[in-house]
Symmetry: C2
Subunit: 321 residues, 2 copies
């Protein structure tokens, strides 16, 4: 419900960063429109995920929930949960794929969390997480299938709309980098209430466009693979049940971007926007730069949803230019 | 005069970016204080220089000043002037050192300016600039020795103070990356009027700390060398006469940072702040991270004054970590 986002906005105030909504003269000139950039890479823990994690975990009582929290995550949710748990004073155990970028594992540990790794191809992260939940009497904090998580991510949309209202702008299109669909659902809910004429679109990596295909077919489609994209944050195997129930019928057409388009967007973010963006965080920018949608004369919002990228990968992308 | 900064603030509105004043949980934890980060790397043209350039050039009349403008610059002022002239509809010729990072030359040309290069060791940029001023009937836009330039840069300070007022914070220390001293003079003037208890400090590269030494001796000292620092934006040979007259007696102690400290700050900006900062733009951050001043329990402002860095240099710095 929309009111949940408003409550979440109160809850995160003073803990989450009110990230800037930026505009760039060169990007506008390139597109012929106005592109508004929500810089969630500047969010606490380096991605939007802290919003939902804190909205969920701040409700827990350290006296009651001494077993803490357990989460499974490719990395950004892990950091969000770890930081939120540390702030709340409860332990966190995070189940992460072995092939997660080192910076995400190290950062998760830096927030005091315990990290357990698993093989993305052969093991079930849900099973491992449930094992620790039972063993420790912990609370599971899922990455997107939870009303508090979705409401927390929705605060990102609320902030975009508020900043635009200050400029007298209503968006034609809002692009959201999409994995399980929690951020997308939260933002789409915020826009449906406060800016209903804006079309909200999912953006995914090519080959992992389960959301775009599910929106077309009306049922939750699976991705054929579970790894093999540079966008390590956007590899959920299929839309979440809860998020898809919210997004189906509410979202407009979904877009998919190639790895080359993502790399180009990361270079553009570095050189022109002066922002560090992880691959999955650059999907919406990649869609805009590669002309997946009409931009001329239009107002378009994108979310740079995270900046937790291995510096050596970024260096390689910059060197290859 | 302070009123000139207020007029400049009106003049740049809608053309310059009102850049965010950021805070980072990890940086605060590291320092034990609160560090406020003015992200001028997100400014139009990638550095604060557009402020002064537009404040100066927006006053010119294309009918009267058809000869356009001439400037000499190691790069950021060049881009600021080129973009401002393009916006005003007059030609710009920029005299740049041959060893300027390629990205700065290319960016300057991208704003429609003509670029003439010179040898930093053997030629005088002032002489070359004056030659073109006379030949074209152009207006010289100096990098710091001009009241309009200093007032324009001062708007950066005004914005910092306004954002802090919204948070109920007054800074103990304000660190300004310093070359000729225009930004420093503008910011120091703004603080002396609006936040007089804040101590404003210059930050320079080791070996190019003419400002710090001049503040100690009370006369304008020269740097022994004119090149050889990674901080290509901070190589003015000595304090400007006008800027030093404003800064002498108004600034507190100046700091100098080593190349290793700057590189470490650039890595920190990338990994933790998720911001792309050029070497000279990272000097204040380097001073904070390397403990040049007491930070525990204190409120400190820094300016990430520019982000126009060769991607390959940044890649090398990231790879070396």
């Amino acid at each position: 419900m929309f009111a949940d986002i408003e409550h979440a906005a109160q809850r995160i105030q003073g803990e989450a960063v009110l990230t800037p909504l930026l505009e760039n003269v060169k990007l506008n000139a390139l597109t012929g429109g106005r592109v508004f950039i929500k810089a969630e890479n500047l969010q606490r823990t380096g991605s939007f995920k802290f919003r939902g994690a804190w909205n969920c975990i701040s409700k827990l009582d350290p006296a009651v929930n001494a077993g803490g929290v357990v989460a499974y995550s490719s990395g950004n949710h892990a950091q969000g949960v770890a930081a939120a748990a540390q702030l709340r004073g409860i332990p966190a155990l995070i189940v992460m794929p072995e092939d997660t970028p080192e910076i995400k594992k190290a950062n998760t540990k830096s927030y005091g969390a315990e990290v357990v790794t698993y093989d993305r191809a052969t093991e079930s992260r849900e099973e491992i997480a449930n094992y620790y939940v039972a063993k420790r009497g912990a609370v599971l904090v899922p990455p997107f299938e939870h009303a508090d998580i979705i409401a927390g991510q929705g605060t990102c949309g609320l902030e975009i709309i508020a900043a635009l209202a200050g400029l007298g702008v209503e968006l034609d299109d809002m692009l959201v980098n999409c994995s399980g669909g929690g951020l997308t659902a939260g933002i789409a809910l915020a826009f449906s209430e406060k800016s209903p004429k804006t079309k909200v679109h999912s953006v995914e990596p090519e080959g992992f466009d389960d959301y775009a295909r599910s929106l077309r077919s009306g049922v939750r489609e699976q991705n054929p693979r579970s790894s093999g994209s540079i966008c390590d944050a956007l590899l959920a195997p299929q839309p979440g049940e809860m998020s898809f129930a919210m997004n189906n019928g509410r979202l407009a057409e979904g877009y998919a971007v190639s790895e080359a388009e993502v790399r180009r967007a990361m270079r553009f973010a570095f050189e022109t926007l002066k922002l560090v963006v992880e691959p999955g965080g650059a999907a919406g920018l990649a869609a805009v730069l590669s002309g997946k949608l009409a931009t001329k004369g239009r107002t378009i919002g994108i979310v740079l949803s995270g900046g937790n990228v291995d510096p050596k990968l970024y260096a390689e992308i910059l060197m290859a230019a």
